[in-house]
């Protein structure tokens, strides 16, 4: 449930708001409906991870990954654009996971 809410709200926000709004959404969603720390973290992580893969591919597939294949060469990594996709998703996932974790911990701090 938490996973889906974060995914959908972040997806909508991505069209007109900055990327870090996704972290705020994960925080608030977990604050209201989050249950355990572990579940919240992985829901936040998974939602943004998946969302960012989708968003990146929406742009990259019609581009035949020309740009991603160039950009990966700026990194000291093997020249596989898929690695860039994974790093992107990992960063987003980490931010989403940490934010959701913060949300559920805040909830716990104020509940009896």
């Amino acid at each position: 449930m938490l996973f889906l809410i974060i995914l959908i709200l972040s997806f909508i926000s991505s069209y007109f708001l900055p990327w870090w709004v996704a972290a705020a959404i994960a925080f608030l969603a977990a604050l209201f409906i989050g249950k355990t720390s572990g579940k919240a973290f992985w829901s936040g992580f998974g939602a943004i991870f998946v969302l960012w893969i989708i968003l990146a591919l929406i742009k990259s597939i019609p581009n035949d990954n020309i740009l991603a294949s160039r950009v990966i060469q700026l990194f000291p990594l093997p020249h596989q654009w898929i690695l860039l996709l994974l790093i992107t998703a990992l960063i987003g996932g980490l931010a989403g996971g940490m934010a959701a974790l913060s949300g559920v911990l805040t909830k716990k701090a104020f509940s009896k």
Binding site: S14, W19, W20, N63, L67, T88, I91, T106
Partner: protein, 812 residues
């Protein structure tokens, strides 16, 4: 405890987001850059292009239709000239916004604002050379002309209307990498582009080195080694052309110049090989009976290209060609009636003057027998992450004192700039060069061409011309100072008014030729004229190699076609090798050659003197000549701590061909007296050993294309954004002057006639976006030596299956 955990987690999350948003040193803000919401993924352009697009833009007066062909080259149809230049600005910004930004930043000395302190030295150099001072003066000249004022303002509005509607996610990728935002375009930015061209083509000087040469070797040797007219030459204006004008009186040499040149006491960095080719054949030499014109300007090859291709149509003009991104009009191109192109003249329009200050305040300097006030200009250089630097530049009536003490001079580079000398540079003068292009774009005949040229100041260019009226012409043209012979060959005494520039060569007395009997005109940066021309333009030009080859080929050519011109642009024949190789082989001692040296000798004996990509002979000759040249001069001219100029290849040829026992062949460190033959043999041994050391025994790895390592890089040298190394023929000094990252930046051939037909290509693509299909789509055509047929539309609704999409712009 729970509260602590929550706070800790929130703090960690915020810290993470902060870190992802922040630039650390040269590393871009990683979250900002990678996130798919607004980061680089957004720059990936789809291969599916909307066939129709409509936009409403503030400030447009009528409707503009832009049709894009298969290379996404825009063909702009506007209802008036204002809208035409507005649309040019808009569409150029859409394709090349970051290039517009970085080029003008570089010229204006503002790179430190985005790159931090590491760009300070280059910024200071540009400021102190007076690039801003010059751009301000040029802008004044443009704004005085009501027609050009409208064009510049409309172009600026067009660029800005694109910037204003740009969402952060659509910023070009380079802005995201360097973490900064595009800024408002200003009319002066267009002027900065002209200053950049002047810097590239007329901003080098060897006066400091020449003055050092003079002090070290004395007048006799310097006059012998650095003659005012080359050993081999085939000038642009054919030898024997009559000058039908009464020249102005030539200024008298100043007293100190005479002293300098008759004194008996003994006491880097103009880049050679910069140049371009153009030529035009008359109707009686072409298959169609109408002239054909060809041009290939040699410049640094980068992605995005220095050129932007387009067609521009309004009720007053229909022109096709290449523009400089950031400036209105077409620079090289054609319309229904005329075509034109340019190569660099290399006129001496940059001189250094020694300044004597009264005291350390440098408020006054000695000139015309009394103390004169200097003026000071404070340059404020903003630096990312640091306090701004305030740099005071002293100006005399000549211009800026570029480095008034040694501490201002960077430790590396700019060896050619003397300390304590004022700079007189044509690029500082008020000017209105765009007017020339504005008029050429609309030109109908020879008279229009001649009139357009009178507006051009700098950098002086060899303007070539062909018309459907069957006229051809060429004019080395620009605002050329009236000088005494050799004025500015050495550093001048700034206290003597006789050393100042004494006026200008009248435009109608610049060298020119129309329809010469030989049936063609051409230029390749060699001497403008033979020695009968009354004025001094420069004492040295690019050497004759390319020019001679072009003239040799055109002399015998009959029934020329576009394809014969195209093949000539790709010609790799070395005139240098033709001149020197037989003599070098004659002097080479064939005894005592080891196996590999024998093999190398066999190869070079059979070499056809073409610098083809797969040629091994080319690699051997190139290395051999290079070693020979250095061996001849380095003993005397490579002196630690002293900046000297080497004699030219041309002078070295003369030495080799006519003075085998010259003192310059002798190596003073040996007891023996070396002659030409010793140096030829020794340099051959060295050349072969070097090739073996790097590439193994003689074989395929010695191919010229592999040795040369040609590549085209992104403007910011970003790995993965360029071509990487590719194998290619060509060299400085052959028509196809393709060096490792410099060469034919636009190849164009235009067949004149009732139906003009243009062909052209540049290495790269229209789009500056590395995520576009049009970033390098023309590269392989260029590399393979082919040309695209250019689509020259006659009306906005002309049917053509090459038109792929249409953008309609209208006012708000």
């Amino acid at each position: 405890m729970k509260l602590f955990k929550a706070l800790f987690s929130i703090a960690a999350t915020l810290l993470l987001i902060w870190a992802l948003q922040t630039k650390f040193g040269d590393i871009p803000p990683i979250g900002e850059f990678l996130n798919p919401v607004s980061g680089f993924w957004q720059n990936a352009e789809s291969k599916n292009i909307k066939p129709e697009e409509n936009l409403h833009l503030e400030g447009l007066q009528g409707k503009v239709t832009i049709r894009f062909d298969e290379h996404r080259i825009p063909h702009i149809f506007a209802e008036n000239d204002h809208d035409l230049y507005y649309a040019q600005g808009y569409i150029t910004a859409r394709d090349r916004l970051w290039q517009l930004d970085i080029q003008t930043r570089s010229a204006a000395g503002r790179l430190s604002e985005i790159a931090g302190p590491k760009a300070l030295a280059v910024d200071r150099y540009h400021r102190r050379m007076g690039m801003t001072y010059g751009a301000e003066n040029t802008l004044k000249g443009i704004m005085k002309d009501p027609v050009m004022k409208v064009a510049i303002q409309a172009y600026t509005d067009g660029v800005n209307s694109y910037i204003h509607h740009l969402d952060k996610r659509d910023y070009p990728i380079e802005f995201k990498l360097l973490a900064y935002a595009p800024e408002e375009w200003k009319p002066i930015n267009c002027a900065y582009l002209l200053k950049l061209m002047s810097e590239t083509l007329a901003g080098g000087s060897d006066q400091f080195a020449m003055t050092n040469d003079l002090k070290r070797f004395g007048v006799k040797d310097v006059n012998d080694l650095f003659p005012d007219y080359p050993f081999h030459e085939d000038p642009i204006i054919p030898v024997g052309t009559k000058w039908n004008f009464n020249p102005l009186p030539i200024p008298k040499p100043s007293k100190d110049f005479i002293t300098l040149m008759t004194d008996t006491i003994k006491p880097k960095e103009r880049v050679p090989g910069i140049g371009s080719n153009n030529w035009a054949v008359a109707g009686n030499k072409s298959a169609s009976g109408y002239p054909i014109l060809a041009n290939d300007p040699h410049l640094n090859l980068t992605f995005p290209s220095i050129w932007y291709q387009l067609q521009m149509v309004s009720p007053t003009v229909n022109v096709y060609g290449v523009s400089l991104p950031g400036a209105p009009c077409i620079v090289i191109g054609y319309n229904q009636k005329i075509s034109w192109g340019v190569t660099n003249v290399d006129a001496d329009v940059l001189d250094w003057y020694q300044v004597k200050f009264k005291d350390n305040t440098k408020n006054e300097y000695w000139y015309n027998n009394h103390w004169n006030k200097t003026s000071k200009r404070v340059e404020i250089i903003k630096i990312r992450g640091q306090k701004p630097v305030y740099d005071t530049v002293i100006y005399t009536h000549h211009g800026p004192v570029v480095y008034d003490n040694a501490s201002q001079k960077p430790k590396e580079g700019h060896e050619n700039i003397p300390i304590g000398d004022a700079l007189r540079w044509i690029a500082h003068d008020e000017s209105n060069e765009f007017k020339t292009f504005y008029l050429l774009n609309r030109g109908k005949n020879y008279d229009d061409y001649r009139k357009a040229l009178t507006y051009f100041t700098a950098p002086a260019q060899n303007f070539i011309f062909a018309s459907s009226d069957k006229d051809i012409a060429i004019t080395p043209n620009g605002k050329l100072p009236l000088k005494f012979k050799d004025q500015g060959k050495f550093i001048l005494d700034g206290s003597d008014p006789a050393n100042d520039w004494q006026g200008w060569i009248p435009y109608d007395q610049n060298p020119t030729v129309k329809n010469p009997p030989r049936g063609f005109v051409s230029s390749a940066n060699q001497s403008s004229t033979d020695q009968t021309y009354p004025y001094f333009i420069n004492w040295r030009f690019e050497q004759y190699y390319r020019g001679k080859r072009i003239n040799d080929k055109l002399t015998v050519m009959q029934k020329a076609t576009v394809d014969s011109m195209r093949i000539m642009q790709m010609d790799n024949y070395s005139m240098l090798a033709q001149d020197v190789l037989p003599t070098m082989l004659k002097y080479l001692d064939p005894s005592n050659l080891d196996n590999n040296q024998q093999k190398a000798l066999e190869i070079i004996k059979n070499w056809d003197k073409h610098y083809e990509a797969n040629s091994i002979g080319a690699s051997i000759f190139d290395n051999w000549w290079y070693n020979f040249y250095n061996m001849v001069w380095r003993n005397n001219f490579d002196v630690k701590g002293l900046y000297l100029k080497y004699p030219s290849y041309d002078r070295t040829e003369k030495l080799l061909l006519t003075e085998p026992n010259s003192k310059w062949f002798d190596d003073p460190s040996t007891n023996k007296k070396e002659t030409c033959a010793d140096i030829v043999t020794h340099s051959f041994h060295d050349a072969v050993s070097q090739l073996i050391q790097k590439n193994g025994p003689p074989g395929d790895k010695w191919q010229w294309g592999l040795i040369k390592e040609t590549s085209i890089n992104h403007l910011a040298n970003l790995p993965g954004f360029g071509t990487g190394n590719f194998s290619a023929g060509g060299r400085a000094g052959v028509i196809n002057a393709l060096k490792s990252n410099n060469g034919p930046s636009w190849r164009m051939v235009v067949q004149m006639g009732p139906q003009v037909k243009g062909y052209g290509v540049f290495p790269g693509g229209e789009s500056g976006n590395p995520g576009s299909y049009y970033y390098e789509d023309m590269f392989s055509t260029w590399r393979d030596g082919k040309l695209n047929e250019l689509l020259f539309l006659q009306s906005p609704d002309e049917k053509s299956d090459r038109v792929k999409s249409t953008l309609t712009l209208s006012g708000k």
